[in-house]
Symmetry: C2
Subunit: 432 residues, 2 copies
């Protein structure tokens, strides 16, 4: 099926085709207060302005709720529920469709185009949602296996629980930041000599990335009330790219017995545009087959609840040279977001709108499909070669890491996430 | 020094003497919207009403900020900073002091007494603060040692990192609930037969308590900016009692390699009245001496940064019989709250006002000083005897657990926390 066309000029290779319509939070020179927009091609359609100027006049169902587009986060819009997301997104697609049913709204309204269509380079992007609780899972089977081999050998690579439940830990919501935010190298305790068990204070020397997907929740659940696996999809709003920056040396020292802490709570970067679950629906896929029969509360039967998202990571050094350092697919997950939510709530843990689920690092099976440097360099035992002759075991100051992700075809049919990027700054210098 | 006296009748054994003045959030028949109050004896002084009726007329510095007392949480008041907390608390003490300098404000104002003094039994208590991020530490040395002995034997009871840093994990903010909230037994995956490594779905059979203190943060810190140990006290607002309910069987199966998750995220109960750091200042004490020299960023030198709070736990069965099941002191901590905050932020993790730090389970050295049943019953190998002949390995449905804590003397000089209580309800019945 040929892709749909917009009357607005959209590069056929744009992540933000008319098939996508991702939601984000922008501020502009005209309106410095953060508010809601969607992306189309290299423009944002400013929904605060669009709503004020009667852009939604043909969609009566949203009219009592139009204030949600003037909010500084997507939480209020998300809380309206999946049915409303669907209607609003499809309406905006129709408005943008060449000679579509609502061409009078924007295609034939130069004044509203002038007011509401803002070039993306003029938009400052903000965190799309307020997140009360952020949880990071470990559902990338190949990653978990590879890391397990590194630390426990191939015999015990996966813990006995691994295929029975989506293993996860509670992350730090306060350090979730939007793409583009500078990332200071963390200080902390590391073992200078692993034999001695005497830590030293140091900037992390094993700074790493973790290529992940993040999924936002749009429907709250109460204390003591599990979300059943079949209801879980209605609780999911949309997906972003995520880089869960990690300090491997801090992690190695601190993590027993309660898990990662300061090694991961100093920054988690997400892409600014939330791709709605409906936009991803054409790209559903099976994940990795689980050869263990899960308990009924996690059993999705044969539902395709993963997505075929092509993911890639590049590293740009301070000299400006960019190198591709990994490509993989989001199909490399053993558990899906509905399974993660069903597991997370099975004991009664409540959710708020805007809560964020991280997939865990996504790696494929082959050498160049690894989602973190820990795997790529065998925890710093080897190096990866970059374009221009530089090499890396872990990240150096000045390195910029960019994750991209996309579904669909490059003929105007892409449904992509744009970029999730961050640059490493030197650690804070501390004197005592 | 003899305790101060109030013109208001206050039981000399009340936790809420004039030396205390803890802050909380109440709603009443007259004002159903949650708002701020302090406790004195068996009354709440409703600060929303008190402020509206010019109770703060003699304290000009608070006047531009009086809206904070009408807020549904203490966050706005907390954010005013330690200096303001001190001034407001001392002013309220003066107002309540018998023949004090401000006796015209309330002592001689029957009308305002009528409007603003509400018997505690007529107050509905709410969560005192909105918490974006909750972190639970593991700073109770005796507890960590005892649990380590249970699972790894006395030789390896404490992990190598234990005395070098306050070990902790990120908890779940959404399931922090106020004292009195009913607690449903969680369902989850447990190992029926530990040899088989095949989990079953079941209500937890090893439901436990954890006796802890919680500390709220009142001053934000930014991404990448560590809070120095000497500045940390200015970031701390006040302390509450905490029961970090735990499901030991779920924990045993799920916790490798990323730490506790569903075993602890289904409920954490806190006491409703926040005792300010200033109220606790007369009760500062040394904690457990750390025989390991900590790194400079954690070194408090000789500062007394712990508190002599007498803590006790009681269990009331569904037959109504109450039994004391543990008494200890909060001095049994290896790391202080300032050390926890300095460690938590050393890598750049940011804090928001209202963020909550849990101390970890507090146990003394002797048999009846244990802060959880796991320790008291050697993980269910033995039983504890309750009054009236019943016995317990872990909690049963209908059991109500109440933690209390107090400093000072029972002659009108108590600075206490009231109660932190919760009753176990049966697990949700699920069919598939």
């Amino acid at each position: 099926m040929a892709p749909l066309s917009s009357w607005l000029q959209v590069d056929p290779k744009s992540h933000f085709s008319i098939h996508n319509i991702p939601f984000g939070v922008i501020s502009t020179a005209e309106e410095s207060k953060p508010h809601v927009a969607v992306a189309i091609g290299d423009h944002a359609l400013d929904l605060h302005v669009f709503a004020q100027e009667n852009g939604f006049s043909a969609l009566s169902i949203i009219q009592p709720h139009q204030h949600v587009f003037s909010e500084p986060t997507l939480n209020a819009f998300a809380q309206l529920g999946r049915a409303m997301h669907r209607v609003v997104r499809e309406y905006l697609q129709s408005v943008l469709l060449k000679d579509g049913p609502f061409k009078n709204v924007l295609q034939e309204n130069q004044q509203l185009q002038q007011a509401a269509l803002v070039p993306l380079e003029k938009c400052k992007m903000h965190l799309p949602m307020f997140t009360n609780d952020y949880t990071d899972f470990y559902a990338g089977l190949n990653h978990a296996y590879n890391v397990g081999v590194l630390f426990r050998g191939p015999e015990n690579a996966l813990q006995p629980n691994y295929k029975h439940l989506p293993v996860g830990y509670h992350g730090r919501a306060s350090s979730v930041v939007v793409s583009g935010t500078s990332i200071k190298r963390p200080n902390g305790q590391i073992l200078a000599d692993p034999q001695k068990k005497e830590p030293m204070f140091s900037p992390s020397k094993k700074l790493d990335i973790e290529l992940e997907l993040g999924c936002f929740v749009c429907k709250p659940s109460s204390l003591g009330d599990p979300v059943r696996i079949e209801d879980a999809p209605e609780h999911l709003f949309g997906i972003v790219l995520m880089n869960d920056w990690s300090a491997r040396d801090i992690q190695a020292w601190e993590y027993v017995p309660l898990g990662p802490f300061n090694s991961k709570n100093w920054a988690t970067t997400i892409s600014p545009w939330v791709v709605l679950m409906d936009a991803l629906e054409p790209f559903t896929a099976k994940g990795i087959t689980n050869d263990t029969q899960v308990l009924p509360y996690l059993d999705e039967k044969d539902r395709k609840s993963h997505y075929s998202i092509d993911l890639s990571v590049s590293l740009t050094t301070s000299s400006g040279t960019a190198s591709s350092i990994g490509k993989t697919s989001s199909r490399n997950l053993l558990f899906s977001f509905p399974q993660m939510l069903a597991h997370h709530t099975i004991g009664g843990c409540p959710f708020n709108v805007g809560d964020l689920l991280g997939s865990g690092t996504i790696s494929g099976e082959s050498k160049n499909e690894k989602g973190c440097l820990l795997e790529q360099t065998d925890n710093g035992k080897t190096e990866i070669a970059l374009e221009g002759g530089e090499k890396r075991k872990f990240l150096e100051d000045g390195d910029q890491v960019t994750i991209t992700g996309c579904c669909g075809t490059e003929d105007g049919g892409l449904v992509g996430f744009g970029e999730c990027t961050g640059k490493i700054e030197p650690a804070v210098s501390m004197s005592f």
